[in-house]
Symmetry: D2
Subunit: 151 residues, 4 copies
């Protein structure tokens, strides 16, 4: 839809990445004939849940511990539009971790072209929505996901 000098965006080399493959359902499109911009925020969730499952622990485990990984900020940049039945790959990786919060980065590609980039910031909270310090082993685990592995 718009001019972009960013042809591709990748995670820094060595960093843990989850890739979620998604085929655009008809119900995600709008009367412009393309995926409605709000629906991409859902695609980010699918990739983030896959990331936690593959590299950290299933989201359900957080819930069992009385915690949620709440979203406190979302930023999305749309480079191309998606249409019904397009196959999109959502790559997700961790960008930073602090005491109660963490941030993810995303890049969506379709047929090797950049569709969208995004970042989401999160806060670990209890069921009352109060910020909750991450268990030490959790934070350590997250930090290891930031450090490129040495081959």
């Amino acid at each position: 839809m718009r001019d972009s000098h960013e042809l591709i965006e990748c995670a820094p080399p060595g960093v843990a990445v989850a890739k979620f493959e998604y085929r655009v359902p008809f119900f995600d499109t709008d009367a412009m004939g393309i995926v409605h911009h709000a629906n991409y925020v859902r695609y980010l969730e699918l990739a983030r849940v896959a990331f936690l499952e593959q590299h950290d622990q299933p989201y359900q485990r957080y819930v069992e511990q009385g915690l949620h990984v709440a979203v406190i900020r979302v930023e999305t940049r749309y480079h191309r539009s998606l249409r019904f039945d397009d196959r999109v790959t959502v790559a997700c990786w961790l960008e930073w971790v602090k005491g109660v919060s963490l941030g993810f980065r995303y890049a969506l590609h379709c047929q090797e072209q950049l569709v969208m980039t995004a970042t989401t910031d999160h806060c670990v909270v209890d069921f009352q929505g109060r910020p909750h310090r991450m268990p030490t082993e959790r934070r350590d685990a997250f930090r290891r996901l930031l450090v490129p592995s040495v081959a």
Copy 2:
């Protein structure tokens, strides 16, 4: 849900603002018991459409002219969560205008507490998704909405 020193956010004095009143439907909530973060992006659209209708021209008029006001960037910051049946007010105003693009700012309040702030950037495009220079009278109209009216 989180600590916020911003208790309230308003449009600059004198700037054209549209306010959209919304009552949270059950189907907007998720298993955390709160409105799912992706749904807020839809609330922004409701307020933006109201803004265009009240201060510019109905969105339908753009479509009749072969144009769309496509979303190219969204940034949302969540300060409090919303629950089923909450009444939220979405205030929307124009922040900037250029040749083919423009930006909106939003503040959501519920019971006089700040729920969320957001910005969206847009590009005027034709039906093929190509950027399209705004008609001069359109851009002039938008610019007047930026300038506080002198009483």
Copy 3:
């Protein structure tokens, strides 16, 4: 979209009806240019919640009593399509009540033309999803809504 001899459908005279006015948001449309059929099921919920609030008790009251009015069956018949910015009126009334269950009927009109008819069946359940006998005064209240009021 389709031939219909039903030009209009109304609640039986004297029966309690709630009417919910809705203006079709852009995000409810799909790439056919019309409201996606799944979204109408949400419109029914909006009208049903309005019905309970106006004629029975706010849905929140059920939740406070540890109950939900779960949906166990939905039937929708689409007569015409809706487009962005259409103003639709969703009329909702009670059709039947039993010990743990009840049924609603709906008719959607836009510009005095029938858009859709629907029925939904419900079961009162506790938070574990087990059927729960309606409190007597609740059932009595529902039954009065079925009986046309004598002027």
Copy 4:
């Protein structure tokens, strides 16, 4: 959620069936902690699109021919609820075909338990929404999908 003597529902033996595997995303849940009933209608679409692709022709082909397979009726019966991360299998098969219309049947299972049954009726329409006689080879193809294959 409710008592059901139907423990399982299957397509008639020999009939063409498409199975769509789906893992419940968090954004499909509501404040009851379960998948919102309106979202199941989307699951039906996913399975129907898979059915057309596997046994008829990709839905895109219809669009290229200036046609849509519009939904004119949906009936859903909910037997159990689904939660975040549940894996559900949506089976879809053709039940009947006429000159301009056709009907599908669906059964959703999760961990070998029946979650939901549904039927959808459709009308082939042109881009103006007018009923359009199915091309003969299309209708013949559909009819073969109804007839159990003789081994």
